[in-house]
Subunit: 530 residues, 2 copies
Amino acid sequence: MQEPITGEQLIGFSSSARGSDTFRTHNPKTGAPTPWSFREATREEAELAMALASKAHEAYQEVPGRRRAAFLRAIAGALEADAEILVPIYMEESGLPEGRARGELGRTVGQLRAFADLAAEGSWVEARIDTALPDRQPVARPDIRKYQVPLGPVVVFGASNFPFAFSTAGGDTASALAAGCPVVVKGHPLHAGTGEAVARRVGQAARETGMPEGVFSHLQGSGKDLGAWLVQHPLSRAVGFTGSREGGLALSRMGQERAEPIPVFAEMGSINPVVVLPSATDPGLGWAAAYAQSVTLGTGQFCTNPGLILGIVGEGWQQFTRSLAEAIARVPQGCMLQDSMAGRYRSMRSDFLAQRGVQELVPTSPGEGALVGATVAAVSGKDFIANPGLQREVFGPFTLTVSCSGPAELERAVRSLEGQLTASLLGEEAELQRFGTLLGLLRDRVGRLLLNGVPTGVEVCPSMQHGGPFPATTDARFTSVGTDAIRRWTRPLALQNAPASLLPPELRDDNPLGIWRLVNGTFTNQQGGT
Amino acid sequence: MQEPITGEQLIGFSSSARGSDTFRTHNPKTGAPTPWSFREATREEAELAMALASKAHEAYQEVPGRRRAAFLRAIAGALEADAEILVPIYMEESGLPEGRARGELGRTVGQLRAFADLAAEGSWVEARIDTALPDRQPVARPDIRKYQVPLGPVVVFGASNFPFAFSTAGGDTASALAAGCPVVVKGHPLHAGTGEAVARRVGQAARETGMPEGVFSHLQGSGKDLGAWLVQHPLSRAVGFTGSREGGLALSRMGQERAEPIPVFAEMGSINPVVVLPSATDPGLGWAAAYAQSVTLGTGQFCTNPGLILGIVGEGWQQFTRSLAEAIARVPQGCMLQDSMAGRYRSMRSDFLAQRGVQELVPTSPGEGALVGATVAAVSGKDFIANPGLQREVFGPFTLTVSCSGPAELERAVRSLEGQLTASLLGEEAELQRFGTLLGLLRDRVGRLLLNGVPTGVEVCPSMQHGGPFPATTDARFTSVGTDAIRRWTRPLALQNAPASLLPPELRDDNPLGIWRLVNGTFTNQQGGT
């Protein structure tokens, strides 16, 4: 199956091709351009998308959760039904293998349905009702009811490393649409064709399920200007971004420096430290093999890629790091998303290996073109602590092992760490308790702490926290994966003394939606009267 | 009853008087200095307070909710028991009447107990548990459990207008301590004696209930340097502030510009627009009298003071505004918190009355010294819309009535409004529905929307939202009043695959605290196993 990729913008329900500047996408495996040419969105097109989104906000915020859910399910259904069209475009533009493409599409569809369920169920609005106490002394208590309401138009940036799951119809878009916010996507230029094909299905789903025009638009742009302009646009109300620290910080600053500041949720990468306690070096546990796989998964292009592995010198640790390096050296070279990313990987790899005390454990080839070989570098705890530059993220299949002279140096190394998405601690239960201080230090620095596991593989579920202390993300109080991601696009609104006819269903006495609410201090999902 | 006011800092469990610079507080009614002299905290003292707070964080975050609750209740008990000591100091420094002092103390005690109840009950941590599904295809699901954890040391600024309820042991302090965060208070210099007396009781309560030293410190400073230094201190993790827009924006910028940005929750004032629909001008409803009282309550020094009242020209509106102005003119002059505030009130009042088309409805005396007369100014909708300067907050007993030519101009006036803490809409139910667009516009601009009520009087309850779109506050997604205020000082932490012995009680299978949790997608407070 094939369908034409037109290279146009999707603005509301219409395609738009006003611009004359174009750009192309490339197949990273061959370096050859794809058959498609994409038009850069013009200012007028972007303005129209924002104006439509703002207008759609007035209607879309009133669309009941069950209808928003139908919209999300229609998107999911269309993506699933058209896998045979979408997967080849994804593979052409990303160089990622078919299994990954299908897995990521499945995850994307699963996310859309998870947010559909959340919107349909409705308890996510965190309704709190305190009914009037007219006879209270010294003053009567008024009737007050609060729930989460959508912020308004959200600008979503497609992420290079997840053309399906963190891009056009990815987690940011799904959670914002579930919350009741229109979305304007600035597609990632590396997979503009994938973006267009997905966007067409989102637009079609919006039409078919009767959503207001402007609830979704998709704009193409190869440079930084379009995104910056959207973040600064007076009608945008929040931003979702996954990418580099440089890009995330720049957008975050723009969000703060507006006349009316808006939240910019930027996930900016992380080296996801792993601490291997002595018992975990036992070869029978298989951690070296598990981490060799985790480091090289998806050619190391995951935000939870473990880029730092710390342990205490000794025979076990030496054997562990050796096994890890040998296992990684056996992994075939992988294709990165773009030649330039592979180039950056190679130059950062060289830079790391030139740092004081850093060496490769088992020499590997850096690769060429978009193909790269994985790297295990090694350094002492002392040299690591002395050199904050070794905490930079090397995007790709790279990890740095840090050999600490003892528990005290290990603790110092962990104290020196910046904020991270995840940290992992490997060891026996009794040993984990002995290293309680270390556990506390890791907790303070991460959004998710794993005990005896690998950080890659981010489950989409209510308990997931994908967001850690700065500089891993701009706001550790929110998650970009899992159902709580919906909160990023909402704020509380209290209604005081509102007549029943003006209350939304979520706040009515009879709880017609049957949602969980805190009513006069008690959690209840009772229907039919408070 | 009396007790000495020493003018010293409270740092951890000790008084400290290292500084030699001093300042005094004054009785605004007489202009005379109080008998006390206060030492400016030195950098070394501030550094020690922050270091102790950071050290206390390690222990205090592990203190169970029930013990945090005991601490908060001990503070509440001490403040209540010593009302006869505290109220005279408060009155001496604020010029506010005894009834207000006792009412505010009661509210402060009530807040402390509400947060104690919240901490003791424990469900506020929003526990989410997804248990392992080892046989799930294509990949197993790991065990993941998430809850809210405290951010670390919080810097709280005392607010001039609430020496008890928004200062040393006010809502910010109570919510932060309940969340598990140590607090360093930068006391407000206008009521430094009240701050010291309250702080002494907080410190005593911390000692008596076995809290770690450094969980609370109180620093005095008459200028801006100390507060700025605390916000910029690498160990501070969040900031609570209630005050001017200028001050709030400056602190917020400092928080953003740190090497590691931190949230600054600044409430920066609001003019709390009121829309009077035609039916509400009926004199029998008494709204003119109710608003005359609301505007002049506490000499207009409330954050929810209604500073803007909009209506549609006509006989009813004319009569309403006339009645309002006459009622306000009859209110005796009130004492502001400081001569300089009264001076600023008078100069802004004059400035407003000099704006195009603005006039006083019933001339009142601006007063002198700390005493001020209330003002009702009037302007046409057209002149209001054309002059954004008329949206400035005049801190004090001031309100501006806006006479719109019809519903369309009223809607335009509302569209022109900035973000606000509250808005109020007065009218009959059928009329409210007819003005649905207006209602939607107000909703988008506020944190709390009142139907047929007055905004002053902020209930402390789960449904309260005290925080509105910028520039009313720096972050409309959080509230500074009500139990949800605890969220400001926390972030989510997920634990993956943690052995039972490392789980906090909140996340254990048997739910020993009996809290409400989302377990595998179902809300439950069941104990004894999931």
